[in-house]
């Protein structure tokens, strides 16, 4: 064991409901002050994992340590965690102040201390004027803040967020997201944040854990996950990716250059890590493409535009190789690029933006 | 950590369910079994202490009550009353339930509260002073008197049940039917009737049962010579307790009503809009 214990350490956690394997051998850890997101589609086990950390669901095997203490058999009420629920789960019969102070009263703080802490937390989340109201009298955004304040008030070792923004409208969501991140940085609490929204995960986390079917698919910093997805699932789930099978024709390991054949024709891929085999998947992002201006570039391909979506500063194009209309890729150009549907466009995909996935084709 | 085949929780749960069944048997099944047993005691071989079981069992008691007591008349009265009461009550309740279920107006919640008044006036107070009122008004028909009394005291139930049914009618279906040019009759048949039917039937049955079971008004207004099943049962209880007769009448009163009530409950469950319209 390390001398400095992690704030949270999950080791080979497994859990099944009947025949459904909700978590399988999940291992990760978070150091003090980190914000970790658990990202994945619904049913991937991210909420189950959060509830296991909170103590609502006992693990079948594996262990969870919070600040170096094994949580086996410790009920939720005795764990140093506080959760922000997706439904907010505010107590409808208690005022905002009593909601925020609920956990403090359970911890037997004096009335005066509770009052001071409640008002300071309420001020931080901008609820000072709402303290005497009942949750039913608040807007969705305000209710969300009460849930946040209530969890923050107990100053937990680990804060748990279960899709806290999913019931807010888009504009408010961005705002509250930044606020949560700012509060988390300011107070330095460790947080585990569950979401199915990849942009949320990329925007606010120190570490992103992508899950599927109860298993961790990839774990890393947001840039790493985005730049170097390990498989088709992660590549596709994070942002937009064009995924294609490639077969390696020649390798230049020293320079990190690989010539491949793919549905586009022949291409060059520059990669620091060598590919897993000779026949595998590779991906590239729409925004990495460049409309060719002169001749003589590597990886220059001619596409036929099948659909064009104008997005303001950008333009989203659905394209197919001229000789094969059955495959479809997405590329992005400047909004001002003069292309229209049915035309062809010459595009360069820079060799270092195409990435091998760790997924060989049998 | 391995999971046992039965966790300790399962065992506790199993035991508590078993305990509940046991309590049920002692508090309901056993007394009923006793009633059945008593109704089968042969009139010429009384069941007396210290015999643990009746000496002779026969259906003679049933036959005797049927031929010698006012039970046939009471049954006729009860069922005739119940039929009138449920028809009248439903007719009166439908318009009001429609207003409660499908319209918004000022004073709606007050009006809804007011329909509940009969539930908070003690039954014998309304029975006795309703009979005083009938005397003052010179109404001497016991049948009519009881029909009025029952109708008023059972209206709250019918209004409540039908209000729920009317709220379950989906406005989008009504609008769609009208948008497609359906006549009012077609709108009613396609959008209203399928949802309302179970509720209507259920309230009909429930009012029918409650009318048969009603005791205070039937007893006071009907006294002394207009008998219903509950008043006959009452006469066998209390001071001149004739146990085998009471057992017979109890079974006659309970069994059909339980059957009807189970039907009504099934109807109310099927009235779920998701079932009727096939959409959640």
């Amino acid at each position: 064991m390390a001398l400095m214990a992690n704030a949270l350490a999950v080791e080979r956690a497994s859990l099944r409901y009947g025949k459904f394997q909700a978590l399988k051998d999940v291992t990760f850890s978070a150091s003090q002050g980190q914000l970790i997101t658990l990202l994945g589609p619904s049913g991937c086990g991210k909420t189950t994992l959060l509830k296991a950390i909170a103590g609502f669901m006992p693990l079948d095997s594996g262990r969870i340590d919070i600040f170096g203490r094994d949580m086996q058999g410790v009920p939720p009420e005795k764990r140093d965690t506080a959760m922000c629920f997706q439904s907010y789960a505010l107590f409808p019969h208690l005022s905002v102040a009593d909601n925020i102070g609920f956990g403090l009263r359970q911890r037997r703080l004096s009335a005066a201390e509770i009052a001071t802490r409640v008002s300071s937390v309420a001020e931080q989340v901008g609820l000072s004027l709402q303290l005497q109201k009942l949750p039913g009298q608040l807007s969705g955004g305000q209710q969300q803040r009460v849930a946040l304040a209530r969890a923050m008030a107990v100053r937990p070792g680990v804060m748990l967020f279960d899709e806290p923004l999913s019931n807010l409208d888009a504009k408010l969501r961005d705002h509250v997201r930044m606020e949560i991140r700012a509060l988390q940085r300011e107070h330095g609490f460790t947080a585990v944040y569950v979401t199915h929204d990849q942009s949320e995960a990329l925007a606010m986390s120190d570490l992103v854990i992508v899950m599927r079917a109860g298993v961790i698919e990839q774990m890393g910093r947001p840039e790493e996950i985005y730049r170097h997805p390990v498989n088709r699932f992660v590549a596709d789930f994070i942002g937009t990716a064009n995924i294609m099978p490639v077969r390696i024709l020649s390798r230049d390991q020293a320079r990190g250059e690989y010539h491949v054949t793919c549905p586009l024709g022949q291409a060059v891929i520059r990669s620091a890590t060598p590919p897993v085999g000779d026949h595998l998947y590779a991906c590239w992002r729409p925004e990495d493409t460049v409309v060719a201006t002169d001749s003589g570039n590597d990886n220059r391909f001619t596409f036929k535009v099948s659909a064009r979506t104008f997005l303001g500063s950008l333009c989203d194009l659905s394209v197919s190789p001229t000789e094969d209309a059955s495959v479809c890729y997405r590329i992005q150009t400047h909004g001002s690029t003069p292309v229209s549907e049915g035309q062809t466009v010459d595009v360069v995909i820079p060799p270092d933006t195409i990435r091998f996935l760790d997924e060989a084709i049998a | 950590m391995t999971k046992l085949l039965f966790s300790r929780n399962d065992v506790y749960r199993y035991l508590t369910v078993l305990l509940a069944v046991l309590v049920f048997l002692i508090f309901l099944a056993l007394p009923f079994a006793m009633a059945v047993l008593w109704s089968l005691v042969d009139p010429s071989h009384p069941w007396a202490y210290p015999a643990v079981l009746p000496p002779v069992l026969s259906l003679r008691r049933w036959a005797e009550i049927w031929t010698t007591s006012a039970l046939p008349q009471a049954l006729y009265n009860s069922y005739a009353l119940a039929a009138c009461v449920s028809a009248v009550t439903l007719l009166l309740a439908v318009p009001t339930a429609y207003a409660f279920g499908r319209m918004e107006f000022t004073g709606k919640s007050t009006a809804q509260m007011m329909t509940l008044i009969p539930l908070i006036i003690p039954g014998f107070v309304s029975a006795i002073f309703f009979s005083a009122l009938l005397i003052q008004l010179g109404v001497y028909s016991r049948f009519a008197g009881i029909v009025i009394g029952h109708t008023v005291s059972l209206l709250p139930y019918a209004i409540r049940l039908l209000t729920v049914s009317f709220t379950m009618v989906r406005q989008d279906l009504v609008d769609a039917a009208r948008d497609l040019g359906a006549s009012p009759l077609t709108v009613f048949r396609t959008a209203y009737l399928p949802v309302l039917k179970p509720g209507l039937l259920a309230s009909l049955i429930i009012v029918f049962i409650l009318s048969i079971e009603e005791f205070a008004i039937s007893y006071i207004v009907g006294a002394p010579d207009f008998v219903t099943v509950p008043t006959i049962l009452y006469s066998y209880l209390g001071y001149n307790f004739i146990r085998p007769n009471a057992a017979v009448v109890s079974l006659i009163l309970v069994v059909p009503n339980v059957v009807l009530m189970l039907i009504a409950e099934r109807l109310l469950k099927s009235a779920d809009p998701a079932v009727v319209t096939g959409k959640g």
């Binding site: 506080a82 439904s87 359970q106 911890r107 | 007394p31 002073f129 005083a132 009452y234 009503n257």
Partner: protein
């Protein structure tokens, strides 16, 4: 348009609401007027507080009044106290829970008089209870349990009949409490007892009060359970009212009317008082 609509709504209310309001105000009006000397069946109509004075100075009346009040309070509180833990237990469905709910609700389908008969039959000399006790060797010979002087039989019957109602009302509100709310309380450090005191009880207070009120009113006005299984030496309010109306020839109606008004007063204020006390108790528990 909207005025038209409202008018239509009010017209639709007439068939259902008018009979109720008319009937009830006539009946209650009849009771109140007769208690102060109007609509006399014997003698002239004139205002008089004589009947009130006669009734309220009778010891017997007050014994009856407090007897009914006591039975009502005890029955209402016992029914709710029995129903509440069961409702909590059945909050989440589990194998067998449907069966248990169905068994709990069964007494609703049994007519009050039939229940009274079943009960009397059960505890009488020749009843199951006595036979069982004798055979178990607990008593030497059957004992008389019918019409016990404390009204225990009546309370047993009332609880038997009313507990399912309390259960139905309470289980609805208990089930309406979301799992998330309880999880949130747990997560914030509330143990089993704290969750009950500070979350579950306050959130189910309204249904507790509703069931207390309904059972109190029903029990205070009881006639049949009292007549069949109650003590011989004391009447319930309804029984007393009916007896006075029949026995006291001349002014029976007027005096019965006084009892009727007092019964309504008892129902109204007694049930509100019980509900108020419940609110106080729940608030206290939540501290």
């Amino acid at each position: 348009m909207t005025i038209n609509n409202a008018l239509k709504a009010y017209l639709l209310l007439i068939p259902g609401l008018l009979p109720i309001v008319a009937f009830m105000s006539l009946v209650v009006g009849m009771a109140v007027s007769q208690s102060i000397g109007f609509f006399n069946f014997a003698g002239d109509d004139h205002f008089s507080l004589l009947f009130w004075q006669q009734m309220l100075t009778q010891d017997q009346f007050w014994r009856v009044f407090f007897y009914s009040a006591r039975i009502a309070v005890v029955s209402a509180v016992l029914s709710v106290m029995l129903a509440y833990p069961v409702a909590l237990w059945l909050r989440r469905p589990f194998p067998g829970s449907d069966l248990i709910s169905a068994m709990i609700k069964a007494p609703i389908l049994v007519h009050g008089l039939v229940a009274a008969f079943l009960f009397v039959n059960f505890i009488s000399f020749q009843g199951f209870l006595n036979v069982a006790l004798v055979h178990l060797g607990l008593i030497a010979r059957p004992i008389r349990m019918q019409n016990d002087p404390y009204g225990i039989g009546v309370v047993v019957l009332q609880v038997w009949k009313n507990m399912p109602f309390a259960f139905l009302i309470i289980v609805g509100s208990v089930r309406a409490i979301g799992d998330d709310i309880l999880d949130a309380a747990r997560d914030l450090g509330a143990g089993r007892l704290a969750r009950l005191r500070r979350v579950i009880l306050p959130l189910t207070l309204r249904s507790l009060q509703a069931s207390l009120i309904l059972i109190f009113i029903g029990t205070a006005g009881d006639y049949s359970f009292q007549a069949v299984a109650g003590p011989i030496n004391i009447n319930s309010m309804s029984q007393f009212m009916l007896r006075i109306q029949m026995d006291n020839a001349a002014h029976g109606w007027n005096e019965a009317a006084v009892v009727a008004v007092m019964l309504m007063v008892l129902s109204l204020f007694g049930s509100l008082a019980v509900a108020g006390l419940m609110q106080f108790a729940v608030r206290r528990a939540g501290r």
